[in-house]
């Protein structure tokens, strides 16, 4: 049996029929045009996601999600567990990179209008994936259970309270009670390692499936002029290029993780006053700053209620964007592209302004 690998693969293929997939990937064309660089953001997100899964599996071997043990178990990972500090640091940095790329991915698709028919559901599943990533970040932030993460979570879980009717209910649901306590910690842990992973895998499956089914979009102007866009095969040409990008990103990620590991403060005290400098993770700063500039009262309504409702409406607008932007080449489409730029400027300015 000299040629056993070949024999084995034929044997498996007879049973699974996987050659259809490899054949598909070899034939799948990836268009090459001036916006092609944005195609790499999607696979960068996948890269960081895989790193999150692997480092998450590792951290969970030592982490203890209880009031008394959480902070100490993270301290132990940082000080005693061999290379534990690097693993935690990579997990923390990779979340930052992943969310950064999710934002870039979203805005690049917004500005190139790649969500247009027939890719509406791809976009919508993407918006859900964004929400999942943010909830991952928010729940993960509490797990080290130090003073800063406690106060940030108190504020974050109190914000939904200003939504009329269901608000108080949402806050209790998130906190597992009226206050942030050990129950909240356990709950966040469960969401972070059990509930969200199921959802994100499902959504990813839908998202990736739709991308394969509908193929890569081509730029709007080329499409309207019915131009032929040059393509390269997905496998191996495009994947090799992606691998180069991954290598560079992993290099940057590990450098950041080693030079700037995340800190760990002393264990959170439910009775202690909030420390100075309570702030959420950087990707919530623009929302945080938006809340801050709203006055306590606007006419007769609570300022926070107005702010939160506006944010919810913005979220809905983004979710339904492909449906709203149904005439991409006309003036409405141009306004929506302009709105995309406005969003970028707003997020950048508010994020930088917030810590000042």
């Amino acid at each position: 049996m000299k040629n056993w690998p070949k024999a084995l693969s034929t044997w498996l293929d007879d049973r699974f029929g996987l050659s259809a997939i490899t054949q598909f990937l070899k034939e799948k064309p990836v268009p090459q045009h001036k916006h092609s660089i944005w195609l790499y953001t999607g696979s960068a997100i996948l890269l960081f996601f895989v790193i999150q899964v692997v480092t998450g599996f590792m951290l969970i071997l030592y982490y203890k999600p209880t009031l008394d043990a959480a902070n100490a178990s993270v301290a132990r990972i940082m000080t005693e567990v061999p290379l534990g500090w690097i693993i935690r640091s990579v997990h923390s940095w990779s979340s930052t990179f992943m969310i950064a790329f999710v934002f870039i991915h979203l805005i690049s698709i917004w500005l190139t209008k790649s969500y247009r028919k027939p890719r509406e559901i791809t976009w919508m599943s993407g918006v859900f994936l964004l929400a999942c990533s943010l909830v991952f970040g928010f729940t993960g932030y509490l797990l080290p259970w130090d003073d800063l993460s406690l106060s940030a979570t108190k504020v974050g879980t109190d914000i939904p309270r200003s939504i009329p009717v269901v608000g108080a209910w949402v806050t209790t649901l998130l906190r597992g009670g009226g206050d942030v306590t050990g129950d909240t910690l356990t709950r966040f842990f469960g969401i972070h390692v059990c509930i969200l992973p199921i959802f994100i895998f499902l959504l990813l499956a839908i998202h990736v499936y739709l991308i394969q089914k509908k193929g890569m979009s081509i730029p709007l102007d080329a499409e309207t002029r019915n131009e032929d866009v040059p393509t390269i095969p997905f496998w191996p040409n495009f994947v090799y290029r992606e691998m180069v990008v991954w290598l560079v990103l992993v290099g940057i990620l590990f450098s950041m993780a080693i030079v700037f590991p995340p800190s760990l403060d002393k264990q959170a005290d439910l009775m202690a006053a909030a420390p100075e400098g309570v702030k959420p993770e950087w990707y919530f700063l623009f929302l945080f700053q938006t809340l801050k500039i709203f006055p306590a009262k606007i006419l007769f309504v609570n300022g926070d209620t107005v702010a939160v409702l506006l944010m919810l409406m913005a979220g809905l607008f983004i979710f339904f964007l492909p449906v709203i932007d149904n005439k991409p080449t006309e003036w409405k489409g141009k306004i929506i592209t302009a709105l995309g730029y406005v969003l970028v400027v707003y997020v950048l300015i508010f994020s930088v302004w917030s810590p000042l």
Binding site: S151, K154, G176, G178, A273, A274, A296
Partner: protein
């Protein structure tokens, strides 16, 4: 099949029956799930502390005590009387600190300020700090919710 004076067909009727029955069945499963994920939460009616622990406080100083899962703050006024607050900011729930030199409560989360009587004076807090009733019945110090008799 539809009878002459019937409003819907037999198929529609059966589908409606089946759909309604399935929904009702589902609801009986969902109800306990929802019940389960909302834990009972009750604020204490009162807490009983040892007065001797608080008797020696200097006028103008504060001491905290656990009020359920929230911090309570007991403050001794300059005239020797006591005031008690729930030490939680009315803006977004952060725990507040008392700054005795300035005679103010301060919330670090978004720079919220209250005066020594807990009235909101600056920053985002929309309401005064919540007051609690202090009763001294030596050797106990009883702290109650305002609406509890």
């Amino acid at each position: 099949m539809k009878l002459k004076h019937s409003l819907f067909t037999r198929r529609q009727f059966l589908n409606g029956l089946f759909g309604g029955w399935t929904t009702a069945l589902l609801a009986t499963f969902i109800y306990p799930v929802v019940k389960f994920i909302f834990p009972p939460y009750r604020e204490p009616d009162e807490v009983i502390l040892l007065f001797s622990d608080f008797e020696g406080m200097a006028p103008g100083s504060v001491k905290s005590f656990p009020w359920g899962s929230k911090p309570g703050i007991l403050k001794k006024n300059d005239d020797g009387t006591y005031l008690a607050f729930v030490g939680v900011c009315t803006h977004l729930d952060c725990n507040v600190a008392y700054l005795p030199e300035q005679k103010k409560f301060f919330c670090a989360c978004h720079d919220g300020w209250y005066d020594e009587y807990g009235t909101n004076t600056g920053g985002p807090p929309p309401h005064p700090l919540r007051r609690l009733v202090v009763e001294i019945a030596a050797p106990d110090l009883i702290i109650k919710r305002e609406d509890v008799e």
